[in-house]
């Protein structure tokens, strides 16, 4: 709850800041920065740190090795599967548009749910992609669901 307040505060202050900055120049109303935009911006930093070397700056991947993230059904489609790929990695031969990709992707278990949501939102909204954002709550939900229950 406190985080929401903080976020709201940031949004309001960003908003008022941009308004004051723009006041003397134009009469346009400044658009508030949406939660999705903030998530995309944070996600870009995660992408640059952990994903860019294999999936490349343009999301094009590497032919025969690392799958492209541009317009593929895997990226635009099922969020559950995407969350699991980031958390568990991918150790299989993947076919996309008649091409095969076979490099190992390690599990990124060190990422927080928020980071996973952000990086997935970034890739679903970059490289020409226009899919819905992934929320932190969805990551938690999907990942728990996707896990095989452990017996104690």
């Amino acid at each position: 709850m406190r985080k929401i307040y903080t976020l709201a505060f940031i949004l309001i202050s960003l908003n008022s800041f941009s308004q004051t900055a723009k006041k003397p120049v134009a009469k346009k109303t400044a658009t508030p920065v949406s939660a999705t935009t903030l998530s995309i911006n944070r996600g870009k930093l995660v992408y640059q740190k952990f994903c860019i070397s294999c999936h490349q700056a343009d999301g094009g991947g590497v032919p025969n090795l690392n799958p492209p993230l541009i317009g593929t059904s895997g990226v635009l489609g099922n969020k559950n599967r995407l969350v699991k790929i980031v958390k568990n990695g991918l150790q299989e031969h993947v076919e996309i548009d008649g091409e095969f990709y076979s490099n190992n992707m390690p599990p990124f278990k060190m990422l927080t749910d928020q980071q996973v949501a952000d990086v997935l939102t970034y890739i679903r909204r970059s490289f020409g992609n226009k899919a819905t954002p992934v929320l932190r709550s969805e990551v938690a939900q999907y990942y728990v669901k996707g896990k095989t229950p452990q017996k104690r």
Partner: protein, 419 residues
């Protein structure tokens, strides 16, 4: 009004026709390669499948190994005509792969787990394309570095690369911070060059010899006829910075480790995965997976490379030039086809060209230089998918011209020299 429409239509037709015409000329005569003075290049085949290694034989026959069967054939047969273009005349073999070689009346070709041979007739045609002799089988094949490049010596032995199924033998492949598997037991069956007899059926590890180890993945290899020795080009390990960000910067990762050419003698060890070669310091460094920190030198027991190129450029083809068409400087020297890097982000990618290394008496006699550039079709490749073509295989024709394959569009280039 009707007249105007007709004129417009005619104009459009002419424009369309002329653009088609331009295209046809542009494709076959000038593939846009930059070459030293006196050399020219043309494409003898504009497109096919993922063309890997190839052999060019007297009589104009060319056999190309395809990474995956193209139109149902893992080996494409090309016939080059007098005018210098080639047409696909057939194909055989239902398996994809990379290696292909001709020696003593046999065509040898590899899948990613076996090697086959086919008897050739006096015209170099394959006699029984559907009944090859399987000489090697059961080789390790991972989901990376699975291709099996091959070459023969002059004593009826065949050398086969068996690449490491992992990047650097980490406990968890490509996981940031994951350490190396102690002793890296995968070296028992991969990460090296194996020697087999060229004429025995169904050999596997038990019948072969691990000829050299510590080679992560060799794609280019050739037999040097001047000193009767095997030479290989290795793909060095990836992701020093991704996996150990506290020890290596992205800039260091772009350059390191070197892509090395080795002269291989029986029993050699090139250090993988315990050590990597740093061409800037000219020494082997301990790999971070095995206690290295980017500064710690490795034990001095690994074979020194004969040439160390910058990192990640992916040397996919090696050819010692034994022809006489090219000028004196090129005779007995090495051509290396670099497939091009992916692991240099955020820097621009490197490679995507063919280099030349001058040799004398089986040793490099000068610095390497770029011989043929421009395959990618773009000024700078930032991401590998931008490259329109990527050089892969090299072969010398009977007249001394050299041929280069491309495994993006399957273009086959021919490079010639005229005084």
């Amino acid at each position: 009004m009707h007249k105007i429409k007709t004129i417009l239509k005619a104009g459009a037709c002419i424009l369309f026709w002329s653009s088609l015409n331009l295209n046809a000329v542009g494709q076959s005569q000038n593939p846009g390669l930059k070459l030293p003075p006196g050399f020219s290049a043309k494409t003898i085949l504009d497109s096919s499948g993922k063309a890997r290694h190839l052999v060019v034989l007297p009589g104009g026959l060319i056999y190309v190994k395809m990474a995956r069967p193209w139109k149902g054939n893992g080996i494409m047969i090309l016939k080059e005509n007098e005018a210098g273009t080639a047409s696909v005349t057939g194909g055989f073999g239902n398996y994809g792969g990379t290696g292909i070689y001709v020696k003593n009346g046999y065509l040898y070709a590899s899948s990613n787990e076996a090697v086959f041979r086919y008897k050739l007739n006096e015209k170099n045609e394959v006699l029984n394309p559907d009944q090859p002799e399987r000489i090697i089988t059961g080789l390790k094949m991972g989901r990376q570095h699975e291709t099996k490049s091959i070459v023969l010596d002059n004593d009826n032995n065949i050398y086969v690369n068996i690449g490491s199924p992992s990047n650097s033998c980490q406990l968890q492949d490509r996981q940031p911070g994951s350490m190396g598997v102690p002793g890296c037991p995968l070296l028992d069956s991969a990460g090296g060059i194996w020697q087999f007899r060229a004429d025995k059926a169904d050999q596997s590890y038990a019948q072969g010899v691990r000829y050299a180890t510590g080679l992560r993945n060799v794609v280019g290899l050739d037999w040097n006829q001047q000193n009767n020795t095997l030479f290989v080009t290795q793909h060095g390990r990836d992701q020093l910075n991704d996996l150990f960000p506290a020890l290596f910067t992205a800039k260091q990762n772009a350059e390191l480790p070197a892509e090395c050419m080795y002269m291989i003698k029986k029993g050699d060890n090139a250090g993988f995965p315990f050590a990597y070669y740093d061409h800037l310091q000219q020494k082997y460094m301990q790999a971070p997976e095995y206690g290295g920190d980017g500064k710690k030198e490795a034990e001095k027991k690994y074979s020194a490379p004969v040439v160390a190129f910058p990192g990640h450029m992916a040397p996919n083809g090696l050819l010692f030039y034994t022809g006489t068409q090219f000028p004196e400087k090129y005779r007995n020297g090495a051509f290396v086809a670099f497939h091009g890097s992916w692991n240099r982000t955020p820097e621009k990618q490197e490679g995507y060209y063919v280099v030349f290394v001058p040799f004398a008496d089986g040793k490099p006699s000068g610095n390497w230089e770029i011989f043929a550039d421009g395959f990618s079709g773009v000024a700078a490749v930032m991401s590998p998918r931008q490259a329109k073509h990527r050089p892969c295989g090299l072969a010398q024709g009977p007249d001394g011209a050299i041929y280069v394959t491309d495994d993006v569009k399957g273009t086959i280039y021919k490079i010639e020299y005229k005084k």
